[in-house]
Each structure stands twice: as C-alpha cells, then as structure tokens.
Amino acid sequence: MSEHLSSEQISHWIAGERDTRQARHLRECAECSAELGRAESFFAALGASLRHWGDQHMGVNYARPPRVRLWIPIAAALSLAVVFTAIYDQRPPRHSDDALLDHIDAALSRSLPESIEPLTRLLSDRSETREP
C-alpha cells in the first residue's frame, strides 16, 4: 500500500475500523502516522476538555439553584397590577350616593334659597354687633 491514507480511512481508523494493510502503511509512512496522531490527540483533548467542563457544571449546579429569567415573574406581576388598577378605576366611588342624598337633604332643610344665604349672614352679623 503505497498511497497515503485518505481522510475517510483515517476517520475509519479512529472509529475502530482497522485492517492490517492500513496498519502496515501507518508504520511505514511518517506523514500518515503524523496526521493520525494529530487527529487522535485532538479527540483526546476534546474529551478531556468536555470532562472538565461537565465536572465544573456539576459543582455549579449543586452550589446554586437554576437561574430563572427574572423578567417573566416581573412582567406577570406588572400585568396583573395594571389590570387590577384598571378594574378598580372603572368602579363608581362608593360614597357618591350618600353624598347626593346629603346634598338633597341640605337643600330641602334650607328655609331660604342658597343665593340669599349671604344676606341673612350679614343681617345676623349686624344683630350680633348691636348693643342691647
């Protein structure tokens, strides 16, 4: 086997599909051997990095509860607040009926029309200042 190993053959080798001709070629060809070595080193490094990354996240996961996106509960609370405020504002004031009745009672109990009341006050002021 004089030709160099193709990229596919090297991938097959890494995946465990190997034959004796390729094994002999790899022993004899420094170039193919170096290419295979680089690829195998890379996958070993990838595995080591991922193991380290996974172990780190395991530590983080137990140290801290998972983060919940804060905008979700905040937006929900604000929406509810806006809805309740709108509903509350649409309701008529509870005391409006009582106030109206009080106003009517006051008008009925007056002996004089409301427009004349300042004159009566003036008369009463005079009567209070008059000496006996």
């Binding site: 990229s7 596919e8 090297i10 991938s11 097959h12 890494i14 995946a15 465990g16 599909e17 680089r38 690829a39 890379f42 996958f43 070993a44 490094a45 990838l46 595995g47 080591a48 990095s49 991922l50 193991r51 380290h52 990354w53 996974g54 172990d55 780190q56 996240h57 395991m58 983080v60 996961n61 998972p66 983060r67 919940v68 996106r69 979700i72």
Partner: protein, 190 residues
C-alpha cells in the same frame, strides 16, 4: 427432576454483589451519568433530571441486574435511553425557553489539557474544540451519543454497544460518521 442451580436459592430481592450499597453506587456513578447527560442535552436541568431518573430506575430494577455487564454499562444504558427520550420530548424544549439553564457554548474550551502548550497552540486547539462542539450539535442523536460515549466517557466499542443496544458494527458506522463529520468541519487543519 430438574437440577437446582445455586441461583435458585437466591431470592429475587437480593441485590447483585456488584450493586452492593446503593448510596455508594450513586456517589460513585452520579458524576459520569450527569456529565454524559449534560454533554448530550447541553442543559443543566435536563441533565439533572436524567441523572435522577436514571438512579431511580436503577434502584427499582436493581433486583433484575444479573451482572452480565458492569454496573457502569448498565447505568449508562439507562441513561442513554433517558437522554434519547429527553431529546425527543417537545415539552422539555418548551420549558427550556422559560428557564435559562442552557449552557454557554464557548465554555467547553475554557480549560485545555496541556498547560505547557504555546499560546498559539492553545488558541488553535481552543478554536478546534469550539468547531467540534458546534459540529457535534448537528450530528444525529445516535451519532452524538456514540461520539460522547467514546471520547468523553472513554468507553470502548463493546461497552458502547452494550450501553446503546447497537451491534459493534453499528457503533463503528455511527462513530465513523461522527468523527468524519467533525473532522470535515475543522477542515484540513486536522
């Protein structure tokens, strides 16, 4: 009259000696199961759920463990099935949008195994790991599981076959496709 084997005298409720103390078994194997699930699903909550379910199922089925494979392979087989289910589960995808437990993709290359390497080599390796991690996400579920079991969990082909329920030949085919796909993404630099 049929001969009575020694196993006939063992009650079904007695755990296999390989299982022994279940708490100790959880402590020993939890990291590996969790790490595999995390690498496969890339989501902390999903990985934790898979790891918990894995040990709950193992505890329920511990009396059926016969010791034909190692405890680790048995646990990984349960984990592989759970990871497949989780990856298929659309509800999980929905909840994933609400809870920010997915992982930043650049963090995988934060730590490199060779601290003595030159800054240029480190930068190149970091770049290649990033490309490989992105490429792994695009693999089929079977290819990704086989790829992770081989290179992250360092399992041999027969162990992977036992954990995935595939034949050794099928494992080689999926692994080849995964390896070649990742190498092609990295280009002729690898």
């Amino acid at each position: 009259m049929k001969p009575v084997s020694a196993s006939t005298f063992i009650p079904a409720a007695v755990d296999h000696p390989q299982i022994g103390d279940f708490d100790a078994l959880v402590r020993l194997h939890w990291p590996r199961v969790y790490r595999f699930a995390l690498a496969a699903l890339r989501d902390r909550d999903a990985a934790e759920t898979v790891a918990q379910d894995c040990f709950v199922r193992a505890h329920r089925a511990r009396s059926t463990f016969r010791g034909d494979s190692s405890v680790q392979t048995w646990l990984m087989r349960i984990a592989v099935n759970l990871v497949r289910d989780a990856a298929r589960n659309r509800r999980l995808q929905f909840w994933k949008h609400l809870r920010d437990t997915s992982l930043a993709p650049d963090a995988v290359s934060d730590w490199l195994p060779d601290p003595e390497a030159s800054p240029e080599s480190k930068a190149l390796l970091k770049e290649h790991i990033q490309i490989a991690w992105t490429a792994a996400a695009a693999l089929s579920a079977k290819q990704r599981i086989v790829f992770l079991l081989r290179f992250v969990e360092d399992m041999d082909l027969l162990e992977i076959a036992a954990a995935t329920g595939m034949s050794e030949g099928a494992v080689k085919v999926h692994l080849f496709r995964a390896v070649h796909s990742v190498r092609k993404k990295i280009g002729n630099r690898l």
